[in-house]
Amino acid sequence: MKKLSLAVVGVLIVLTAAACGGYEPAEDEVVIGSVHPLTGALAGQGEMMHEGAQLAVDDLNEAGGIESLGGDSLVLRAGDSKGTADAGQIEAQRLVSEGAVALIGTYQSDVTANVSAVAERNRVPLVIDVAVDDVILEQGYEHTFRIQPNASSMGRDGAIALAELSKANGKPVRTVSYLHIEGAFGQSVHDAFEKEAADQGIDVVSEVTYPATNFTDATTQVREALAADPDVVVVTGYYPDSLLIAQAVRSLGGDVDALYGIANGGFDDSAFPADSGPAGADVLSANYHYAATDERAQDIRARFEQKYGRTMETSAMLAYQAVVVIAQGLEESGSKDPEELRDAIADLEIDDPLLEFGGPIAFDEAGENENASVTVMQIRDGKVEQVFPDEFKTADIVYPAGRAAGAKE
C-alpha cells in the first residue's frame, strides 16, 4: 500500500512538473496554436492536419519568416482536443495563455464551437480549417474566421451542382434519396440541400438517417433509400459509413444514375477508391477540395508526401491554408498583438487560395469566406478527379455513372 501511494505521488509530481513546464515564446517567435484531435478515434485526421499546418510554418520560415516583423519566425504549438469539446477548450485556453497569438482548428464542429468561445473571450483570432456547422459563426463572434464553406452553403451548392451537371449530361435529376448521418452535420447539409433542390426541380423522395456509432452494416438503410426508386442517392457522412453505403449500393444492385456525396468525408478521400474497389467506381462527391489544377498546391502535396510518407488530404491543405491566412494577417498588421492581427485578417484578400474556390479568400461580417465553394469530384480509374465545374476539371465526368464506354448498356 505504501509502495502504491509512493508511486501515485511520483506520477503526480511528474504530471504537475510537465503541466508547469509552460512555454515561453522567445522574442523573435510568433506562436500559433493548433488544436486538433491527436488521440482518439479521429487521431489520423488530426495528426495529418497538424502536419499540414507544420509544413506551412516550415515553408514560411524558410522563406524568411514574417517580413513586417523583422523576419520573426513562426512556431506551431499543438493542442490535443482528443476529439472532445471539453479537452479542446482546455487546450485552446492553455495555448493562448502560453502566448499563442492565433489559433487554428479543429476538424469537429462541437469542438470548434467551444474553441471559438475561448478565442472570443481571450480576443485571439481563430481561423477554422475544418468545421462545417453554421451555428459556430452565428454567435456574433468577432474573432472566428472560416475558410471552408459551411454546411448550408455546401448543401445548397451541392444541389445546384447536381442539377447543372445532370442537365448538362442529358439526364436531369428529378428524384433523390438522401442518406445522412444523424446529428447537426448531416441534418443541416440535408436541410439546405432539400430547400435548394425544390427550387431546382429535384424532389427528395426519401430521407434515411443512420447513427454515428455502432453502424457496421448499411444494407437495410440503403435498401430503404433505394425503395423509393430515386434517380440519385445522396450521402452525407464520414469515411467508414460512406464506405459501407457505397458497398451496400453495389451489392443491392442499386440502379441509380449516381451515388453523390455532399460534404462527404469518404468519397473524395484518396484512400477511398482502393478501399471501395468496384463499389467506388464513378462515385461523385461535391465538397471543398484542394486546388488540383494549381501548381503550388500540387507542389505542397508532393512535399508533404515526401516528408510525412502519406497522402495530403484536403483537410490538411485547409490547415496549411489557415496558417497562411494568419501569416498574411501578421504581415499586414506588422504586430504580434492578437487584436490587430484580428483586424488584419478581417480585411485580408488572398488571391491564390490553395483550395478550389471560385474567388479569393475574403471574410464577410460573420467571418465566413465569401468565395468558399464546392467542386464536384468523381472516382475515375481508381483516382479522385475533379469533374465539375469545367474550369476546375481534371477529367471528364461520366454521368449517369457506370455508362462509360464499354461499361454496362
Partner: protein
C-alpha cells in the same frame, strides 16, 4: 459468478429434486420463450408494421448477420466475465488488436485473410494468457473487482495508442477476401458476413464442447462455480484463470479476423462493440455461451428491425430498452442460473 454453461449444469446432487426439475424447465422455457417472443414480434412487423415486405426481410437478414458478429465478440467476453468475474474493458481493444494483426499478415505477409485469422488465434491466445498471468491473476485471486477493471481499462488505452503509434489513425482496409453476395428470400447477404456468421456458430459450438466434454472444461466450470473448492481438489486455479482469459482472447481473434474484411480499421474500431458486448453477455446470462449467441442475435435483430421505426440512434435506445426490461424481469439473463 455463475456457471459457464448453465444449460450443462446437472442438478446439484444435494439440491432437492423438485428444484432441479424446476430449474431445468426454466432453462428450456425461457430461451424458447424469448425466441417465441422474437418470432411473434417479427410476424407483427410483417403483418401490421406498414413497411414493405422485402425491406423487413432485408432488415431481418441483416440483423441476424449483425447479431452473429455481436455474438462472436461476446462469447469471449462471457467466459472472462463469467468465469473470472473480470469486467474486461479491453475486449474491444483486443478485438482491434486482432484485426490489425490480421491486417499486417495480409498486407505485409500476403496471406489470405482467413488464413491470417487462423494464425492470429494462437497469438491472441498467448497474449491473453500472458495478460492474465502477469497482470491480473494476483488481483483476481485477491478477490478484487475494481483492480482488474482498472487494469483492463489501462490495457485498452495502451493497446489503442500503441496501434495509433504504429499504424496511424487513418482508416485501413484488409484487402479483398470473398467479394460478392447471395440472395436469401429476396434479401442480400454478403459472403463475408455469412462467413462471419458461420464462424460465430462454430466458435460457440467449439466452446460448448470444450466446456462440457473435456476435463479441462470441467476444471473451468469448477473454478467458475467455486474457485476455493476447486483448488482444494487439486485444480490449479491460476493456470485455469490464465487459460480462460487466453480462450477469451482467442475468441476475439476469430471475431477480429472474420470482421476485418468488412470494417474500416482504425485503432478505435473495436470500442463500439465493447458496450454492446456487455449488454449481450448480461442479457444472455453471465458465462453462458449459448446465451451470448442468443443475446447477440436478439440485439442484432432489435437494432436493425428497430431502425425501420426508430432511425439513427433510436435503434440503440431500443436495444437498451430491451436490456433494461430483461434486467427487470429476469436479472440473471436469458440463460443465467438463478442467483
Amino acid at each position: 459468478m455463475t456457471d459457464p454453461t448453465s444449460t450443462a449444469t446437472a442438478p446439484a446432487p444435494e439440491a432437492p429434486p423438485d428444484r432441479g426439475t424446476q430449474r431445468r424447465t426454466s432453462e428450456v422455457a425461457v430461451p424458447l420463450g424469448v425466441m417465441a417472443a422474437v418470432v411473434v414480434a417479427l410476424v407483427l412487423v410483417y403483418a401490421v408494421g406498414q413497411r414493405a415486405t422485402d425491406l423487413v426481410t432485408q432488415s431481418i437478414v441483416t440483423g441476424l448477420l449483425l447479431g452473429g458478429v455481436y455474438a462472436l465478440v461476446s462469447v469471449g467476453l462471457t467466459l472472462i466475465f463469467g468465469v473470472l468475474g473480470i469486467v474486461n474493458f479491453a475486449q474491444g481493444a483486443m478485438l482491434t488488436m486482432a484485426m490489425f494483426l490480421v491486417y499486417e499478415m495480409t498486407t505485409s505477409g500476403g496471406l489470405p485473410v482467413y488464413v491470417a485469422t487462423l494464425l492470429a488465434v494462437p497469438i491472441m491466445f498467448l497474449f491473453g494468457v500472458v495478460v492474465q498471468a502477469a497482470l491480473l491473476n494476483k488481483l483476481t485471486l485477491a478477490g478484487s473487482h475494481e483492480g482488474p477493471l482498472l487494469v483492463t481499462l489501462g490495457l485498452s488505452l495502451l493497446i489503442i495508442n500503441v496501434l495509433l503509434m504504429i499504424f496511424g489513425g487513418r482508416p485501413l482496409r484488409v484487402p479483398g477476401s470473398v467479394d460478392g453476395s447471395v440472395e436469401v428470400f429476396g434479401a442480400v447477404a454478403s459472403y463475408e458476413r455469412l462467413i462471419a456468421f458461420g464462424g460465430a456458430l462454430l466458435v460457440a459450438v467449439a466452446l460448448l464442447l470444450l466446456l462440457r466434454r473435456t476435463s479441462f472444461g470441467m476444471s473451468i466450470r469448477a473454478v467458475s462455480a467455486n474457485a476455493e473448492g476447486a483448488s482444494l481438489v487439486g485444480v490449479d486455479v491460476r493456470r485455469i484463470y490464465a487459460l480462460t482469459f487466453g480462450i477469451g482472447a482467442a475468441c476475439v481473434a476469430v471475431a477480429g479476423g472474420l470482421m476485418a474484411p468488412f470494417l474500416s480499421l482504425t485503432p478505435t474500431v473495436g470500442e463500439q462493440f465493447t458496450i454492446l458486448a456487455f449488454v449481450i453477455v448480461v442479457l444472455g446470462g453471465l458465462g453462458s455461451v449459448t446465451g451470448a449467441l442468443l443475446g447477440g442475435l436478439v440485439i442484432g435483430l432489435v437494432q436493425t428491425v428497430g431502425a425501420l421505426y426508430f432511425p439513427g440512434t433510436g435503434s440503440l435506445i431500443l436495444v437498451f430498452a430491451v436490456f433494461v426490461l430483461v434486467l427487470f424481469f429476469r436479472p440473471q439473463g436469458i440463460l443465467g442460473a438463478p442467483q
